[in-house]
């Protein structure tokens, strides 16, 4: 294959990519709006039993005014369990990640993915203009978006 052919192939591939990816631009397009919230004084035992049988791994911790104070992930729990012998007596505020990284609904998806990968985290709470939690974007939400993207790409390359 000569150079110019390869160039034009790249350009058409890029155009297809752009068209497909423009459908999902910001966090609002991929986030989960239903979030589980807890208050800081819930016990660690309650969080463990909440997560053990379900398919979510992150709980947002909010104060009485609905403002975010932290996030508890399954990793936080794991760490607490392996380090402390008296974990049954701990509460959420003692093990949560304080001041977590957050995003806005308008944040580009690529920025959210970059944050999750580089900070080695799996979730980003989404805040509205009043700084209240309006959703959460997790690595699973992003993986779903990626999977749909891959499928559309395969369709377009099969049909062209």
């Amino acid at each position: 294959m000569n150079q110019s052919n390869r160039e034009s192939e790249r350009e058409s591939e890029t155009a297809v990519l752009k068209a497909i990816m423009n459908r999902r631009k910001s966090v609002a397009d991929v986030m989960t709006r239903k979030t589980i919230t807890l208050s800081p004084h819930h016990s660690l035992t309650e969080v463990v039993s909440l997560m053990a049988d379900r398919h979510f791994r992150h709980v947002v911790v909010v104060d009485n005014g609905g403002r975010i104070v932290g996030v508890v992930s399954d990793r936080d729990i794991l760490r607490a369990l392996s380090r402390t012998s008296n974990w049954q007596t701990k509460d959420v505020s003692q093990i949560m990640t304080r001041e977590p990284f957050t995003v806005k609904q308008e944040t580009p998806v690529s920025v959210a993915v970059a944050k999750i990968v580089s900070k080695r985290i799996n979730c980003l709470p989404v805040l509205d203009d009043e700084e209240k939690v309006c959703g959460i974007v997790t690595s699973t939400d992003l993986l779903k978006a990626y999977q749909k993207l891959l499928e559309s790409l395969e369709h377009s390359s099969a049909s062209s």
Partner: protein, 160 residues
């Protein structure tokens, strides 16, 4: 517990292929466990390392199971005598696996539908040759997204 010397498969620098197969992004740097390691040893290893998934392999290199942070969480939530368990008593025995030739869209779809984050990669000889995790997939998603964004701003300014 052993860490195999690893290498990563990469696409062309700065231009990841849009549709690829597992071999191109899988990680061949594996941390493996044996079924007889204690639960405590495995949790300690997990806390000390950046990985959340450990492949449990037989002496001949065939896969015995996967030991993940979710397995730990489940064990802690359900069994009172978890200290006495060993890896084989906690790990996932029936593991869904892929081959190096599996398309990424299939790998992502399987992870999502099965609610798992890692797929062991089994070579033609029936032995474990790598692992692909949701983080590997997200890293590729991010590159893809960034690549398109760069192309649209740098290559063709002003035109669509």
């Amino acid at each position: 517990m052993e860490i195999a010397p690893g290498r990563r498969f990469g696409g062309e620098p700065g231009r990841p292929a849009a549709t690829t197969c597992v071999a191109e992004i899988m990680s061949t740097r594996l941390v493996t466990l044996s079924a007889h390691h204690t639960f405590g040893e495995a949790v300690q290893l997990m806390t000390d390392s950046p990985f959340r998934h450990f492949l449990v392999v037989h002496a001949d290199g065939r896969l015995a199971g996967v030991f993940s942070d979710r397995d730990v969480l489940r064990a802690l939530g359900r069994t009172p005598n978890w200290q006495a368990k060993n890896v084989s008593g906690v790990m996932t025995h029936k593991v869904f696996t892929v081959t190096p030739e599996t398309p990424l869209s299939v790998a992502a779809a399987e992870m999502l539908s099965r609610h798992i984050n890692c797929l062991p990669v089994i070579g033609n000889d029936g032995k474990v040759c790598g692992i692909i995790t949701s983080t590997d997939l997200l890293r590729n998603y991010q590159k893809l997204q960034a690549c398109v964004e760069n192309n649209s701003t740098e290559k063709k300014p002003g035109s669509v």
